[in-house]
């Protein structure tokens, strides 16, 4: 029991994670990205990755979502009460973790031809077994809250503006109750009113015990949501000995 409480309270533990890219088309040059990344996320907090661009903030978030491969270290996720190392999990486990445990709002929406905005937003709920009607009703609530004009809801977002696409993306990421939520610049192309909506939504997630990790260049948003800053420059790779 006690052990379970601990995993619930710390749903994500990152230890000694390292990442580099080997560019085979550039003479196999190896680019170190980060080294020895170690931190954990507690339920109900929002930690923010800080540091200049190019420091590896997005790469860290992408590793935590299984989108980038991990060279070394562990990413321990509490998934349905079990501790799973995402860094070594096979594809179907990563898919299950994404469906139920780790959510992600990327910087840009990847649009799918012919799929309406409301269905893009409802999809994470449908994939977890919520009935389509109920999921779509929730999706409409999210889109309304984010001030996306109702005439756009039934259209595929491919032709939307950057800010409109971003709001569809946010609605899709926030619609579920994933215990861990990763945010990569979710407010980058939003106006002040919608930034405030997102700030409020993050505060609500914290109150329900979600652990959030975000990248926010906007200082106002960062100050409003961050419980602490994780300085990514501490994870800068040492110069390769070779």
């Amino acid at each position: 029991m006690r052990e379970k409480d601990v995993t619930m309270a710390t749903p994500l533990v990152v230890s000694s994670v390292g990442k580099s890219f080997t560019m085979h088309m550039r003479g196999s040059v190896r680019l170190g990205v980060v080294e020895n990344v170690s931190f954990s996320l507690r339920a109900g907090e929002c930690a923010v990755l800080g540091g200049p661009s190019g420091a590896g903030k997005s790469s860290i978030v992408k590793m935590l979502y299984g989108n980038y491969a991990v060279d070394t270290g562990q990413i321990i996720v509490s998934h349905h009460g079990e501790l799973v190392d995402l860094a070594k999990a096979d594809a179907r486990v990563v898919i299950a973790i994404r469906r139920d445990t780790v959510g992600y709002v990327s910087q840009f929406l990847r649009t799918i031809p012919r799929v309406a905005a409301v269905d893009v937003v409802a999809e994470p709920l449908v994939s977890r077994g919520t009935g389509r009607e109920k999921a779509e009703a929730r999706a409409r609530d999210m889109l309304r809250r984010l001030n996306l004009p109702e005439r756009l809801w039934e259209l595929p977002p491919a032709t939307f503006s950057g800010g409109e696409q971003q709001r569809v993306n946010i609605a899709r990421g926030f619609i579920t109750d994933h215990p861990v939520l990763l945010l990569d610049e979710p407010t980058a192309s939003l106006d002040a009113a919608n930034r405030q909506v997102v700030t409020d939504m993050i505060a609500e997630k914290k109150r329900t015990g979600v652990a959030l990790l975000g990248i926010f260049h906007d200082q106002e948003v960062r100050e409003a949501v961050a419980d602490r800053i994780i300085d990514v420059t501490e994870f800068a790779p040492r110069e390769a000995a070779a």
Binding site: F21, H24, S28, Y68, S127
Partner: protein
């Protein structure tokens, strides 16, 4: 649902004399999982698909399939009759060239109904109803049921192939370049349809394609082939966004951005 793979491929190789078709390929496919096999012409992806789907006997290796009663069977140790029955009921095969998967001179409705008759359904009204229902699901209007597929456009023929394959509620679908040769708007419609059906029906699928965008849209997992060998495998977005192998990096960096 039992937590076991549906298909298990072990050290599958096929050579044509001294030329390698595919070499020592192993993988598992799980229920509901869509696996994309990508690579350029001559990479061995179609050879692999044909060997796995028992359309082309491999030189060595095994293909095991979990039947509906959960018993594992080695496909190349089954009788020809058993294998044919499996292909007609529990499997589907969507060909790039629709003429390979359809009977061009019988009606659309009969193309779909034929698979039901092959498994013993003899009730005309029920067969016609199922056929009409499936044509509707693949967005072929009811007034085209009695038309022959040679009067259909390329996109419609592909959708008819899909209806014909899915009418028997298969658990596994093989697709060989399902959107090859179609106009992009027609491709988008077909991909959207496939994506919806696969997730709605919980189908497992192996999709061979040279188009990485098709792989990204349809598949959960990806295998990259070159010269008959699997060079990289993993979660689809991981392989595409963080390719590790030289050949995969070349493929990904060669995509034209729109």
């Amino acid at each position: 649902m039992k937590d076991e793979p549906l298909l298990r491929v072990t050290s599958l190789s096929k050579s044509y004399g001294s030329r390698v078709g595919c070499n020592e390929v192993s993988f598992e496919l799980w229920p509901g999982e869509v696996l994309a096999v990508v690579g350029e012409s001559g990479s061995g992806k179609t050879t692999l698909l044909n060997c796995v789907s028992t359309r082309l006997p491999p030189s060595s290796g095994t293909v095991s399939y979990r039947m509906r009663d959960d018993a594992w069977r080695d496909l190349y140790r089954m009788s020809e009759a058993e294998r044919r029955f499996l292909m007609r009921t529990d499997w589907g095969f969507v060909h790039q060239n629709s003429a390979d998967g359809l009977r061009m001179t019988v009606s659309a409705g009969a193309n779909v109904g034929e698979r039901l008759m092959a498994i013993g359904d003899r009730h005309y009204g029920r067969i016609r109803e199922a056929a009409t229902d499936w044509l509707e699901r693949v967005e072929i209007a009811e007034d085209r049921v009695d038309d022959q597929p040679r009067a259909f456009s390329g996109g419609m023929r592909q959708r008819l192939q899909i209806a014909r394959n899915l009418v028997t509620s298969p658990r596994l679908i093989f697709m060989d370049e399902p959107t090859g040769g179609l106009d992009v708007s027609v491709q988008a419609r077909l991909l959207d349809l496939l994506r919806g059906l696969v997730s709605e029906l919980g189908l497992a699928a192996i999709v061979v394609t040279h188009d990485l965008a098709v792989a990204r849209l349809l598949s959960h997992r990806m295998m990259v082939m070159k010269d008959g060998v699997v060079v990289e495998t993993g979660l689809t977005d991981r392989v595409l966004d963080d390719p590790r192998q030289p050949y995969t990096q070349l493929l990904v960096s060669s995509i034209l951005q729109v």
